[in-house]
């Protein structure tokens, strides 16, 4: 019984804390789909909250890396993110250029300094 539960657990978690809390907003949109302005104050606030939360996750993934990314030293990871971001700004706000430069710096730094 416990073995079955352990096997199914991640799928149950996916439904309960992944699918449901995400889908609820789509369904609310379907049910209450009457005029909500893109520029209304509540939309601006909720977008700011969502942006901050995603930014927090991004920073944690870079600073507190796990697994194979953790074998690349922290200063290299931070330098790669900074270089990627600068490349994005310099090269006419191209996401592709930013990602390519960031990854190249990470690969080079990792090659030179990996544990």
């Amino acid at each position: 019984m416990n073995a079955v539960l352990a096997e199914l657990w991640p799928y149950l978690a996916l439904l309960l804390v992944g699918f449901l809390p995400n889908e609820i907003w789509r369904l609310l949109g379907l049910v209450l789909a009457r005029g909500l302005n893109e520029d209304s104050e509540i939309v601006i606030w909720s977008r700011a909250v969502a942006t901050a939360i995603l930014a927090g996750v991004i920073a944690k993934l870079i600073l507190y890396s796990t697994g194979s990314l953790a074998t690349i030293p922290l200063p290299v990871r931070v330098a790669a993110a900074v270089c990627g971001f600068l490349a994005f700004l310099v090269m006419r706000r191209s996401v592709f250029a930013g990602v390519a430069v960031g990854e190249a710096v990470l690969l080079l730094g990792g090659f030179l300094f990996a544990h």
Partner: protein
């Protein structure tokens, strides 16, 4: 694009949607994003089929990144649910803006369920761009085809990232893992048109790691609520000052 309006069946409209998805620039973005998410899922010890199911059910890359990293790190379920739901509020106004384009004529509520579930950034941007040129009767089928094209790409490249991360030497696997934070950092900055979004990005980048280092409970929730509300307050103060 005028070819698009000449379907004679909903099947033809559906496949025109699939084709439109596979030839759009978003498909490249999705490939890169889901290769990164696949590597992330592997890193946090989740099964590849779990990832595929999460792509189909959740269908929102930010929510999936939060879900995978928080579940994988052993966060409390309550905290994961709060963080996912806070990241998903943006879906609400997107659905509200999309449905009037689909609803016209005699669309039934259950016909709108699939497009509602499929609503995500890539599908939404393309639907708002392409649907107005189509006859009302084929819009739902086209929109579903478009979404299936995007979702199929995401599922396939999730597997690609997962098995690449499993098989590659650590340095290259680490490079794949880095795709997620790097591409999300840059694309979030790119999508931040208003000052309030840029400020929220900076506050989140600082608060997330600080609250983690201080071992604050529900750190993701506080990062969002505190960082987002502070950014909103800055926005209001600036508006009041002008």
């Amino acid at each position: 694009m005028s070819v698009l309006s000449t379907f004679n069946s909903s099947t033809a409209a559906f496949f025109a949607g699939v084709k439109s998805a596979l030839t759009s620039v978003f498909v490249l973005v999705l490939m890169g994003t889901y290769i990164g998410i696949g590597a992330l899922a592997h890193d946090f010890g989740l099964a590849s089929w779990w990832l595929a199911l999460s792509t189909v059910l959740v269908w929102a890359a930010p929510a999936q990144v939060i879900l995978i990293s928080a579940l994988g790190a052993g966060a409390a379920l309550f905290e994961v649910a709060i963080a996912v739901t806070l990241s998903a509020i943006r879906l609400f106004p997107m659905v509200v803006a999309l449905l009037p384009l689909l609803r016209g004529g005699n669309a039934r509520l259950r016909d709108l369920l699939l497009p509602t579930h499929f609503t995500s950034v890539s599908m939404w941007v393309e639907s708002l761009r392409l649907l107005p040129a189509l006859p009302q009767e084929w819009r739902i089928a086209f929109c579903n085809g478009l979404s299936v094209g995007y979702m199929g790409t995401a599922v396939v490249f999730g597997f690609v990232g997962y098995y690449l991360a499993a098989g590659l030497p650590p340095l290259f696997a680490g490079t794949l893992l880095f795709l997620t934070p790097l591409s999300f950092l840059i694309s979030t900055a790119r999508n931040a048109h208003m000052m309030v979004d840029k400020v929220a990005l900076v506050f989140g980048l600082v608060l997330g790691p600080v609250l983690t280092a201080m071992h604050v409970d529900l750190d993701l929730m506080w990062t969002g609520v505190v960082g987002g509300t502070l950014a909103y307050a800055v926005h209001r103060l600036r508006e009041a000052a002008t």
